[in-house]
Symmetry: C2
Subunit: 134 residues, 2 copies
């Protein structure tokens, strides 16, 4: 589990970023929102990496507390919630792009997916804009 | 502790990046190398975030296994090791820059350190070059 209350007090911007969005499951939830347009708990639960229900609930609460996502009632289904990125969340698009480019260069596995890498190489600005619009 | 053998097999470049360098302690060790020019176990142990010895040893081994850093004997002290970034490690400079910029925008705490943020805003290319030269 992610450690709670672990915002480190050193003032370092790298540590701040890691403590805010940088645990791996949080980041994968953001990927589902940014790259796949997912919006609901049920949709996140279906991610390929098989996130556990308690971990997903914890990370959604964490990201909401950090002001990176918002939660609101689905107007079409009042028993369901819709999650959306805030500006603070959308501004992580550049971090995503750099991680994808780095992985595209160094992931030699045959299973490596190149679609996002190729899109960024072709038109980075367009790709970032599409993430921000998610 | 970081989970061992947790390289996820979905082929996603975001997951690959996170599994390779994205646990928080690994990233802080890289920060010590890139931004502070540290090279030895003893120097890393002195980081402000107070890393535990077993965690530090684990992360150094992990980063070496992933080809992000190399370890060699210190020619001036044969009981000590020198750690250095590989090209694969240096190529994370862009990821660092984006995280620092994002944190610079959103860390409202009074303890937030702005030095790196200001340097990047002033001359990003120069800052990245200085990281790569570390």
């Amino acid at each position: 589990m992610r450690n709670q209350n672990k915002m480190r007090q050193t003032g370092c911007p790298v540590a701040f970023g890691l403590d805010t969005f940088g645990d791996r499951w949080s980041f994968l939830v953001l990927r589902e929102m940014m790259l796949k347009g997912k919006k609901t708990y049920g949709e996140f639960l279906g991610m390929n990496e098989e996130i556990a229900t308690n971990v997903l609930a914890d990370r959604l609460r964490h990201l909401e507390n950090e002001g990176i996502i918002t939660k609101s009632r689905d107007p079409e289904n009042r028993r369901s919630n819709i999650y959306a990125l805030t500006d603070k969340g959308r501004d992580l698009a550049s971090v995503f792009v750099e991680i994808i480019l780095w992985s595209g260069k160094y992931d030699r596995r045959t299973i490596a997916l190149k679609e996002a890498v190729d899109k960024i190489k072709k038109d980075r600005k367009r790709f970032e804009a599409s993430i921000r619009a998610s």
